[in-house]
Amino acid sequence: MNNSTFSRRRVLKTGAIASAGLALPTYLRADGHTGFTNAPGDNEVILGFNVPQTGPYADEGADELRAYELAVEHLNGGGDGGMLGTFSSKVLDGTGILGREVKYVTGDTQTKSDAARASARSMIEKDGAIMITGGSSSGVAVAVQALCQEAGIIFMAGLTHSNDTTGKDRRANGFRHFFNSYMSGAALAPVLAANYGTDRKAYHLTADYNWGYTTEEAVKSSTEALGWETVNAVKTPLTQTDFSSYIAPVLNSGADVLVLNHYGGNMVNSLTNAVQFGLREAQANGQNFEIIVPLYSRLMAKGAGANVKGIFGSTNWHWSLQDEGSKAFVQSFGTKYGFPPSQAAHTTYVQTLLYADAVTRANSFNPCAVVEALEDYEFDGLGNGKTLYRGADHQCFKDVLVVKGKENPENEFDLLEIVEVTPVEQVTYAPDHPQFAGGDLGTCNPGA
């Protein structure tokens, strides 16, 4: 190798570039000396909204994103303020969070835990997000919650209903406002007993994944406690679109109630199949055959159309609630987007507000300070009445709505009617309840 030419000109040129480089302010540092990961600057704070924009829950994801944008607008003092006005805590004044303007980044979870984690990691590592929120499936919520725990970021779960999120897989840096399978079962069972009697034989069709299992278990144990009998529980693949072959055996099984532990498109298809098979008109054991859908959402009711009429289920929140908080939220969401929000939109909006409020009360973005501010925090005015963020498992405890498909809907959004508001005492359980056992909250991790 003797063809390298160290001409005077080249040496001078290289030298000039090198010294220009050195003249720039240069410093090398290991991760954060600020005490916690992604400490925000003086002017703005970045939140990460990680929702499914593609895949089976894209509808829910789109609605969550709308709610997040609305929450950011309200936190920054725009719009009509929404639930800021009805929230029992009054520290949020529309000047952002601790005087910093709220900015956000979005990502697509694709309802896959891998993609969700990749997206969350890029928010943390690239965009400097201080809090991650969102998700429309428990698998994703559990995966991202664990990631946030490792990275030292707060995770405010979106729509996740499986017991495990705040049970077996609970984490100190993660918080869930949404209700869970156990609460659905506990709220539904008495209403079912009152309407359908205590001498019933149930047949479960369960989506073959984590959320399905916990929901089946919750509904089973609460209804059995009231005297029901479970005839059979069959798992159906998540990707199934035609449930005929699963519905056909139900009629001859001796059961008189069908419980569909399905969500989203699964539920729309299985319910439609069940109605087509004439289960609604059928008689068994001398009683009318009934169908139950433990977790309801407006978007699902819309998909299933007239088939949902008269079918019982539970939901976290519904836009027709008449308390001040709900009315304010529906008002500002409707003004901005032209239709009422879904329960997914509600829970994500509330989670964003709760985070902002906790930071403000703690007067610090440090995750550990936020955790302390949220634990055992009681609040009101966010649409669910009096609510407690329990410190032992970071689960919100509030009233649960039992709903049923409306017989005569007035418009395309008016599909569910509230049958009963189950008081919080009835759905409260011990943190080490068997359905939630095996979890370890650990301690908060502020990261760097």
Binding site: G21, L24, P25, T26, Y27, L28, R29, A30, D31, Q53, T54, A58, Y104, V105, T106, G107, D108, K112, S113, D114, A115, R117, A118, S119, R121, S122, E125, K126, S137, S138, G139, V142, A143, A146, L147, Q149, E150, A151, S162, D164, D169, D208, Y209, N210, W211, Y213, K235, P237, L238, D440, G442, T443, C444, N445
Partner: protein, 399 residues
Amino acid sequence: MLGLEKKDFRLLLIVVALTMLAPFILNPFPEGSDMAQFNAGYPDLMQRFVIFGILAIGFNILFGLTGYLSFGHAAFLGVGSYAAVWMFKLLSMNVIPAILLSVVIAGVFALIIGYVSLRRSGIYFSILTLAFAQMSYALAYSVLTPLTGGETGLQPKPGDPRILDRALEPGETATPGLFGLFDMRDSLELTVGNWVFTFNAGYYFAAVIMIIAFYMSIRIFRSPFGMMLRAIKSNQTRMSYTGLNARPYTLAAFVISGMYAGLAGGLLVSMDPQAGAERMFWTASGEIVLMTILGGAGTLIGPVLGAGFIKYFENIVSKINKTTLEGWFYWLPDGLEDLVITVIYPFVGKGWHLTLGLLFMLVVIFLPGGLVQGGQKIAAAFTRKKPDDAKSSATEPAE
């Protein structure tokens, strides 16, 4: 040098330089500028680049050399990931045993699947591998939930035994590391003016492994074994007429390729300790095929480029939302701004699949040899050589 021809050695040096300098190359735009959106130099994505590079290199040993199109390679990735997480849970958070086990398990798994699938060739082979992979996915998602965590996935927990590690301090989380020297998530940041460059320990660890994997793949390509695989690709019938049994060779290629995928799976969970069943889904297998074809099947560097290309789209373009677009085009007159945003919006954010699909079509139609062929065309235009010369440079695209 290192048993390589001069040209291959030069290629290896280029790969070494690219991977080592990646934090600079991938972060060309200063922090806070509008273009910073396109920076890819953050640890997670850099790690993904090299790990999926390894996966594609391995896939190319099978597909590029023998022409056997496996449509179930994601299964080996998934099996490797689960094996590694179980090592983290039971033995130690050290990545070495985890990665070793993931390679071994994926190899055994590949041996079983390959033994059955390789009895057929062509489309039947592809469908068999696809069936096995979907089967693994379905098992991992439901029946094997105790072993795989089902939908939730498998992750290390504070309460795991980890018999070789010391007990965790209260509040400490177990993170994968290398003999306690460094954690995979450790990073150094270099700030030069407005630029921030991140040097991540995990990235460099994975990059070194990728370089070794790349070197091994060159050696396989240039070996008599590689020649035999090429012969199988060009005419397997003629091979058997000469009295040669091709199956041991294809099986060996299949197992090697599966072990590469297992290695990638083990590395993936070393960087981010969570294994989900979706990484075995058939779309994940399809993605590997796309990477290889996009970059240039049968070429050495092509699959790595293809992997980088797809991961870049998945992570960067998918994050451009309406607000970002509004930030870019705010200077346009109102009506025009809306128009431009309406035109671009379907192609970014959740529409990243669409953009990728269009690019894939363009590449397949105009550059059948993948990105590598594009590079060669550009190089040929500059050196003013006849295109024939460029073609003979041992990076012949697969048909």
